[in-house]
Symmetry: C2
Subunit: 335 residues, 2 copies
């Protein structure tokens, strides 16, 4: 009889564990193991705890726990050039045999010669030409296939890793931590929404409909009986600077309470989100780690951070010092 | 000792129940009690079961279970006039004392006189004037407050119920049923996204970021040190007809596998979504119930359904006959 009782007691214990396993796992383990102990990590954890504790005066209901993250330089690297620009360059190279006129037509000629400075000097008009050639005048599915193929095979010039492995391990943990605490996580990027949607779910656990980004206009067509979406060579939304709060308004429809960026392109989004009523949290990732990643800010041609650095403390934004605050930068390779 | 053993056995049983309660509740009860037994209800249940059963050849992973619903005439009524038009009319009336010039300026003069036909005859130019006066040149928060106030107090001219109670009980059950089966539910409406976002979460359980609709352009501004989003009197997206697949592409970024509409404004969205690979389900709600709701289709000035009725069987779309298929139309009043 005693044995049977013991077995029952064990069963009870096991069942309790099965029921509570998820809860206790979240409470027990450090949710941010790649973040060094210090004021940045503490500030994040304190914010999340105060908005999720029911009895807290700063409690925020789950449906208002909106967190937005910039992508380039915030979730993945952006040096030596925005990765989507490298995609554009590689597409131009791939398409060049069918476009002999590009040998003399700018900015294609400079792209094919590898003269990045001259390409960038071609300005907005040049950029639109490249976008039209590599991102438009094709169906949404064709674009998705091209981008997915490139992401599979292309390698970063410095690390030789796939671009989808140039993502930040501490940010992956932060995204997971926020979601485990009832936050809905979004990307709000100056990069192309259609481009980011190709890899965001696998890389960050962020589904396509939670990606806001720069976009082209599109049209619906039935081609030979097959309905398609065609990407047009015309800008729909520039989701950068003052375009970011607009993009959030149009796509998310709520003011976020948690916002993370790394450059002055994120300034207005940080400003708008953290000016709302109730508890707000703004983060700027400062690239200070020339050894493990890159070090750049006020004078960078990519991801310039100037006004944001000046105003961060006045605005109450938390600045992440990559070198000091992060134990690891990139996740282990899957290759 | 026997008593203690019994207590332990009971504990085990109770714990099992606590763990499994949600699962068994979903399996046991009819998830669509307001739908009459018949081919429409069976078709819905069969589709959901085949895409969610792991061993089914038609299994669809959860992250691809995207369901989109039109709003006017699909989730709530749209007679005698789109409810948002009634909102516009009521706002014009409310604002009229500050606009003496409207007494002679069309379409405001006709709105104030209650001459609906003349208002509609003012066409797109007239509509844009009303939109500019009632939906733009104000901050997003001001618009939200105005719309929320109106929804609280306005009553439907025929039923005298709040507009948010003119929603369809069978559709609420369908939304819940889909979500319980891992679907993510979206609204894709010709109506204004900002308007629908005011009530969609409470009425349908659909959060603001899962509402796609017609929208105005917007800009970001800092007014007296306070950051705001200003709604501009310029169309951003007309999310109707061929605009619906475009809206889904831009906002959701995936082709839905389940789509519900009621008018020819939903034709292209139905066509595009159901032409995708793998299992797809298209629904057209046919308003056949003059007694409990309204009966209209081919000749209606609102929610015209003509081509959709012609092509439904050829395209494999399921037509809901409101009168036959629905046990109840509206939910019980909360007033």
């Amino acid at each position: 009889m005693i044995d049977r009782l013991k077995i029952h007691s064990w069963l009870v214990a096991i069942l309790f564990f099965l029921c509570l396993a998820n809860v206790s796992a979240v409470q027990a383990a450090d949710p941010l193991p790649s973040w060094n102990t210090g004021p940045t990590k503490s500030a994040i954890v304190e914010f999340v705890e105060k908005v999720t504790r029911k009895e807290s005066p700063d409690f925020v209901p789950e449906n208002q726990r909106i967190a937005v993250f910039d992508n380039d330089g915030t979730l993945w690297s952006e040096q030596p050039l925005y990765f989507q620009f490298i995609y554009g360059r590689d597409q131009v190279r791939k398409m060049a045999p069918k476009h002999p006129e590009w040998k003399t037509e700018e900015p294609f000629a400079s792209i094919l010669k590898g003269d990045t400075k001259k390409v960038l000097a071609s300005g907005e008009a040049g950029l639109m030409k490249v976008i039209a050639a590599t991102h438009a005048n094709m169906t949404a599915e064709e674009f998705r296939t091209n981008a997915a193929d490139w992401l599979k095979t292309a390698r970063h010039p410095k690390t030789n890793r796939p671009y989808t492995e140039m993502i930040y391990q501490p940010m992956l943990e932060l995204l997971d931590y926020l979601r485990a605490n009832g936050f809905k996580t979004f990307i709000v990027s100056g990069g192309g929404a259609d481009f980011i949607r190709v890899f965001a779910e696998q890389a960050y656990g962020i589904p396509p409909d939670q990606v806001v980004g720069t976009s082209l206009k599109a049209k619906y067509e039935v081609r030979d009986g097959k309905p398609v979406i065609v990407k047009l060579p015309e800008i729909n939304l520039v989701d950068d600077k003052e375009g970011k709060p607009v993009g959030i308004h149009q796509y998310i429809g709520q003011r976020p309470i948690f916002v993370a960026g790394n450059s002055d392109g994120d300034y207005q989004m940080l400003e708008w989100a953290t000016a709302g009523k109730g508890p707000r949290f703004g983060i700027i990732l400062h690239h200070t780690d020339a050894k493990r990643e890159w070090a750049y800010d006020r004078d960078s041609h990519i991801g310039q951070l100037n006004k944001g650095l000046d105003d961060a403390s006045k605005k109450g934004w938390t600045v992440i010092d990559m070198q000091k605050d992060w134990k690891t930068v990139f996740p282990p390779s899957k290759q």
